[in-house]
């Protein structure tokens, strides 16, 4: 998952590379691709061999498995909804009305990455009111802050790819109010950026360990670690399962959300951007 995120950031900040000429040694490209694949796939394969297929069945039947998974999914939904509700209007507003604040917002949103999660959660637990501390939803609120850098960057890149000012002016000259403009003009053209923000947020929530553990909630990653102590093959299977579950959900989001985005040829940021870059413009 870490690889997905850093790839994503790299895609976003780097200007699109000029297309290489066809004749530049395709052999080397394949060799590098192969080496990279080996680097990533061998550990996975080794883990699969070690665990054995039967262990996966054991994992699913362990106590706490489904509770932990459901809690993690709930948190993913809450975090995503809250993040979008906060970040989408904020980013659009800053782009349209306060473009000078973009730099500041960028610095603010990077803070959650700079501050170690331990510091953040210890601080939050210190000041959070009791009624929130007794529910897992406090975690959701904290995750919103953690997801902010990724959500902001995706949305910012998506908005920069649009001629936002012109589109908004055009819509309003045609008689559209704010809601119509947002719903019919801005959001459909931000689909790819929204998708990317969602994918990153969900991936973050499904993989976060430190905060959940210190807040004493058994999310899926916490459950896997707690469970790790017992049997070697079974705990390896659990780790692999965590990986696959995350991939499964990301794949789901990309296919469901990406189907229509393809048509619009919208913003450039998403997990499958490499294959799509040619179709944009």
């Amino acid at each position: 998952m870490a690889a997905i995120i850093s790839d994503e950031l790299a895609n976003e900040t780097a200007p699109p590379r000029p297309h290489r000429k066809r004749r530049s040694y395709p052999v080397w490209r394949w060799i590098i691709l192969l080496l990279t694949a080996v680097y990533f796939l061998i550990p996975l394969y080794a883990a699969l061999r070690f665990a054995g297929i039967a262990s996966f069945g054991d994992v699913v039947h362990q106590t706490g498995f489904s509770d932990a998974l459901i809690l993690s999914l709930k948190l993913a939904v809450i975090t995503t909804v809250l993040t979008m509700a906060l970040m989408v209007p904020t980013t659009i507003y800053v782009h349209l009305r306060l473009p000078r604040l973009r730099r500041l917002l960028e610095s603010i949103t990077i803070l959650p990455i700079v501050i170690p999660p331990v510091v953040l959660i210890v601080g939050v637990l210190e000041v959070a009111p009791g009624y929130l501390k007794s529910t897992p939803y406090l975690l959701g609120l904290v995750y919103v802050i953690l997801a902010m850098p990724f959500a902001y960057r995706s949305l910012d890149a998506g908005l920069r790819a649009l001629e936002l000012r012109t589109l908004v002016d055009a819509a309003s000259s045609l008689g559209a109010g704010w809601l119509s403009t947002l719903w019919r003009v801005i959001l459909p053209n931000l689909r790819t950026a929204l998708l990317s923000a969602t994918v990153l947020t969900v991936a973050l929530v499904l993989g976060e360990f430190t905060m959940a553990s210190l807040d004493l909630y058994q999310t899926f990653p916490v459950w896997i670690v707690a469970f790790d102590q017992t049997s070697g093959p079974v705990s390896t299977a659990a780790s692999l399962l965590a990986l696959f579950v995350t991939w499964l959900f990301l794949l789901l989001i990309v296919t469901v959300g990406g189907r229509r985005a393809r048509r619009t040829g919208g913003a450039q940021v998403d997990l499958i951007s490499v294959t799509r870059r040619d179709t944009v413009r």
Binding site: L167, D169, L174, P188, G265
Partner: protein, 368 residues
């Protein structure tokens, strides 16, 4: 969800409908500052119903600000803007019924050409079937019926601007606003679209404000052209008058090609340059007698090949029916002279020539 729901817009926008009589537009003493920059400085402008007025000027002269104030995207610091005699200051842009065409990239990328054109009608709660019919008619009007289902990124720049025009016209606006709609296009497409916009505008009889920095565009399309400088109008007149009788030196030099030739202004109102004495056009009263620059268009200069003349030809450019000759005069002054191409053969670079005024009244400006 019937067509009757559309306020003031029920008369079908069918091709070839009679001129509907656009609304008169009036800007009175409109000023607007952005920080320390005074973008508009007491601009007053009247546009008659069905008239196309072009605002022409260098960048930063305030022409776009004027248009955006009329559209409602900016508010004036002072002054009034009326449409059909009513002050529109309190009316938000969405309720002004003004169709606008932007410089570029204004089509909604997520909608087909047909959906783009139908967007304004949808905002007016027109039913889906009527909307589609009307949008299709508008696309036919601009010759793009075959591209109805294509998305903006599948259309060429010229096609995109035609869809944008159809979209602006579909709402049957009271005023049409054109914000440099042709400046992002290549020359040939620009020329075609220029004619198409003008003929549509005349056919529909729609009051239009057109903002451009391209003088050829302004002069060829507009009923009247307003030349702007530093936030106010220097002169507003029909194109031919602007060219032949510019009110100020700025207009004279901004519109068309103009030579500046050192000369003398006598207190009696006559100017001497290149050894010729000529009358001075009215409107130059503010220039005091003494050394001045005389402003002469290339077609108002005479040139003859003479040994030991007052200038030497540096370049000769064939422009079709006329040929433009650059002549270096004494005192390091270069002038441009237009001659009929048939007579230009003997005027080769390097030749010595005599350049003189043709005697028609000239403009004068303070020596630069």
């Amino acid at each position: 969800m019937e067509a009757t729901n559309i306020s003031s817009a029920t008369a079908a926008g069918v091709p070839g409908r009679a001129a509907s009589g656009g609304a008169p537009v009036s800007l009175q003493e409109v000023s607007r500052s952005f920080g320390a920059v005074r973008a508009l400085n007491g601009l007053s402008l009247e546009i008659a119903p069905g008239e196309l007025v072009a605002l022409l000027g260098p960048s930063g002269c305030g022409k776009t600000t004027a248009l955006r104030i009329l559209a409602g995207f900016e508010t004036a610091d002072s002054g009034t803007v009326t449409v059909d005699g009513k002050d529109i200051a309190p009316v938000p842009p969405a309720k002004r019924d003004m169709g606008m065409v932007f410089q570029s990239y204004s089509l909604f990328p997520n909608m087909s050409a047909l959906e783009n054109v139908g967007f304004g009608l949808r905002m007016r709660k027109m039913g889906a079937a009527d909307r589609r019919r009307r949008a299709r008619e508008q696309l036919e009007l601009v010759g793009l019926a075959a591209q109805a289902s294509q998305f903006p990124h599948q259309l060429s720049g010229g096609q995109q601007q035609r869809v944008a025009l159809a979209r602006a016209l579909a709402i049957q606006p009271r005023v049409l606003l054109l914000d440099e709609p042709l400046s992002a296009l290549d020359a040939k497409v620009r020329l075609q679209l220029r004619e198409q916009i003008r003929s549509l505008q005349q056919r529909l009889g729609i009051t239009t404000l057109f903002v451009t920095h391209d003088q050829e565009e302004a002069l060829s399309m507009a009923d009247r052209v307003g030349v702007m400088k530093d936030g106010s109008l220097e002169q507003i007149a029909v194109p031919s008058e602007l060219y032949t009788r510019p009110a100020t030196a700025f207009v004279a030099e901004f519109v068309g090609t103009m030579n500046r030739i050192p000369g003398e202004l006598a207190s009696g109102g006559q100017a001497t340059a290149l050894g010729t004495v000529t009358d001075v056009q009215s409107g130059c009263a503010e220039v005091p007698p003494g050394p001045v620059d005389v402003l002469v268009r290339p077609e108002n200069l005479r040139i003859a090949a003479i040994a030991g003349g007052n200038g030497i030809i540096t370049t000769r450019t064939f422009l079709g029916s006329v040929t433009r000759i650059h002549v270096l005069l004494s005192g390091d002054v270069t002038v441009q002279v237009d001659v009929p191409s048939a007579t230009a053969t003997e005027l080769a670079p390097g030749a010595s020539v005599q350049v003189s005024l043709d005697g028609s009244p000239v403009q004068v400006a303070e020596r630069s």
